[in-house]
C-alpha cells in the first residue's frame, strides 16, 4: 500500500457560506503542513460551492476538493460518513482533521471505523512530534480534570478540533491553488434511515458564542427568579446570560444555554460567574475567556482559582450595588 501523505481538513459550509470552524481547521492544518512538509487539502461538501472552495485556498489550502451534496443538517449523517470515507480512500491523507461540531463528532468515529484507524475527538492542540513525525493530539479528559496527548498508530490519523481552540487562518486572496471536484456516488445501502425534520431553536438576543460579555449563573442562584438580576447586568453590559449544568438539570433554564464540555464553548472578553463552583466540565466551556470574575459565597469554590477578580459574598447582596455602579460608570 502506498504511504499516506498530506493533511486533509473537512471544512463545513452552512447556508452557502464557509462556517467559522473551517478557517480554524485551516489555521491548524497550515501549521501541520509546514511541520510535516506535506500539502494541505480542504474538503467541502455542498451545492454550488466553487466560490467558498476558492476561499479555502485563500485561507491556506494548497488544493480544495468539492463534493456535490446537501448540507449536513439536511441529510442523514450516514451520507457524510460515506462521502468523506470515499474521499479519504481516494486521497490517502496522513492526517484528517474535522471540527468537533454537529458534523465532526458524528462522522469522525465512523469514518475511523470504515478506514480501519482511530479518531481522537475534541482536540485543543495538534502538533507534529519532530522525532517520530507522528501527530500529537492534545485533548481534555476526565471532564477537563486532566489533559491527555494521544498518538494514533494507524493511518490516517483522524482528529476533531474543538471550536475556538486555535487561531483562525487569515485570508490571502493572492494565493492560488486548484479546485478539484470529486465525483463520489454513495450506494443507497449505505444510508440507513431518513431525516424527518431539522429544527433550529431561535435564540433571543446575542448568541453565547458571539457574546463579548457573558453573565453566567450556576446552582448557587437557587432558582429561576434569581436570573433576573443576571439578565439585568448582561443587558447593561451588552452581553448575554449563560448557565452551568445545575440550572438545566433543575429545569430553571433550557440546556441550549449551557456552557461547558457538553454545551457551548465560549470565549468572551468578560465572563462574570455568579454562584458557580467551577467544575472542570464547566470550565472546559469558558476557560478561554479573557477576564473571569467570580461572585460566590463559598470562599473555597474552585472557580476563584481560575478567576482574575472575585468577591466572596452572597450574590443577592452583591449584584444590586454592582449593577448600580456599572450603570454609573458606563453613563459617565
Amino acid at each position: 500500500m502506498a504511504e499516506n501523505k498530506g493533511i486533509l481538513i473537512c471544512g463545513e459550509v452552512v447556508d452557502g457560506k464557509l462556517a467559522a470552524i473551517t478557517a480554524e481547521l485551516l489555521g491548524a492544518g497550515k501549521k501541520l503542513s509546514a511541520e510535516l512538509e506535506q500539502p494541505l487539502g480542504a474538503l467541502l461538501i455542498g451545492k454550488d460551492i466553487e466560490e467558498v472552495a476558492q476561499e479555502t485556498i485563500g485561507l491556506g489550502a494548497d488544493r480544495a476538493y468539492t463534493i456535490d451534496g446537501p448540507a449536513f443538517l439536511d441529510s442523514l449523517p450516514d451520507l457524510y460518513v460515506a462521502l468523506i470515507a470515499a474521499a479519504c480512500e481516494k486521497l490517502q491523507p496522513s492526517v484528517v482533521i474535522l471540527g468537533q461540531t454537529d458534523m465532526g463528532r458524528d462522522v469522525a468515529p465512523r469514518l475511523a471505523a470504515k478506514l480501519k484507524t482511530t479518531a481522537v475527538l475534541d482536540c485543543v492542540g495538534l502538533e507534529i512530534d519532530p522525532e517520530t513525525r507522528a501527530l500529537l493530539q492534545t485533548r481534555p479528559v476526565y471532564g477537563g480534570n486532566a489533559t491527555a496527548v494521544w498518538v494514533t498508530e494507524s493511518q490516517p490519523q483522524i482528529a476533531t478540533l474543538r471550536p475556538r481552540s486555535v487561531m483562525a487562518a487569515e485570508s490571502d486572496t493572492s494565493r492560488t491553488g486548484e479546485i478539484e471536484p470529486l465525483p463520489i456516488v454513495v450506494e443507497d445501502s449505505a444510508i440507513k434511515g431518513k431525516l424527518v425534520e431539522t429544527v433550529k431553536t431561535e435564540v433571543e438576543g446575542i448568541k453565547l458564542e458571539d457574546a463579548k460579555v457573558i453573565v453566567a449563573g450556576g446552582g448557587g442562584i437557587g432558582g429561576p427568579e434569581g436570573f433576573e438580576k443576571l439578565r439585568e447586568l448582561a443587558s447593561l453590559l451588552g452581553g448575554t446570560v449563560g448557565v452551568t449544568r445545575v440550572p438545566c438539570d433543575e429545569g430553571w433554564l433550557p440546556l441550549t444555554m449551557e456552557i461547558g464540555q457538553t454545551g457551548r464553548i465560549v470565549g468572551p472578553d468578560l465572563y462574570i460567574a455568579v454562584g458557580i463552583s467551577g467544575a472542570p466540565q464547566h470550565m472546559a466551556g469558558c476557560s478561554g475567556s479573557k477576564c473571569i470574575v467570580t461572585i460566590n459565597k463559598d470562599p473555597d469554590a474552585n472557580l476563584f482559582k481560575e478567576s482574575n477578580f472575585g468577591i466572596v459574598g452572597d450574590y443577592k447582596q452583591v449584584m444590586p450595588a454592582f449593577i448600580e455602579k456599572c450603570r454609573e460608570l458606563l453613563s459617565s
Binding site: V120, V141, G144, G193, K305, F309
Partner: protein
Amino acid sequence: MNIIVCVKQVLDPDIPPAKFKVDSASKQVVPPEGIPPVINPYDAQAVELALRLKEKQGGKITVLTVGSDGADKAVKYAISMGADDGFVLSDEVFEGSDSFSMAYILSKAVEKIGEYDLVLCGRQAADWDEGLVGSIIAESLGTSLVTLAEDAEVVDEGLKVKRVTLDGYQAFIVPTPAVVTVSNEVGQARLPSGLGIISAARRQIPVWKAADTGIDPSLVGSAAARRKLFALSVPARERKCEIIEGETPAEAATKLAERLREAGAI
C-alpha cells in the same frame, strides 16, 4: 422490544478538582481514596431512556459492561434502576483495550445475546471522554446509528430518534436493530428504588470470558490498540485572583465595578 444497554464504571466525575491526581510518569490517574467509582452518568441516562421505552413497549433490558473486579456494580446499579438482566465481560486479554477493541468485545456479546432491537450507549464515558464506542458498535454490527439522542420512540418503520444539535435538533427514523448514543438532554436518570437495590444486591451477574463470545484475542488488549497515550497531566490554568473586599457586600461590589473599569474590562 429487546434493548441492550452498554455501561461503564468510572471515577466519580463530580469529585472536587483538588482530589484529582495523575501520575505523569506512568500516565495513569490515581484513584482518590474513599471515593467509590460510579456508573458513567451518560450510561445511567441510557438506562433511563431504555426504561422509558420499556414502559411504553414492554420488552426486556439487558445490561453489558466490560471490566474486571467490581465491574458488576455498574450492572447492578442499572438493575436496581429497573433493568432486567446483565453480564460482565471480563478477561485478562481485554486489559489495555482501546475503544475499537471495547466496541468489538461488546459487539460480540450483543451477537451472543442475539435477539435485540436496540443497543443504547452513553454519548461518552465521563473518564476518557472519547465518545467512540457506541458509533463503532453500530459499524461492527452493521446496524443503523443515531448519536447524541435526546429522545426516542417506536414508530411503524422502526425508531424515531431526536439528535441534539448545537442550535436545536434533528429527527430521524431509522430501521431496527439500531444503535443509539444517549446525550444528557434526555434528562436526569431515575434513582434506584429501595426494592431494586435489594433485588440487585442478591443477583449474581454472570461473567463472560473472551472464549464465551468467540472473541479473537489478537483483536483486543493493549497490543491491538490503535492509539497510545503519549502524555497525561493535570492542566495548570490557574489565574491570579484579586479578591475584592469591603465592609459590606455592596461596598465590595462597588469596588469590583471600579476595578473592572480600571482594567478596561467594562
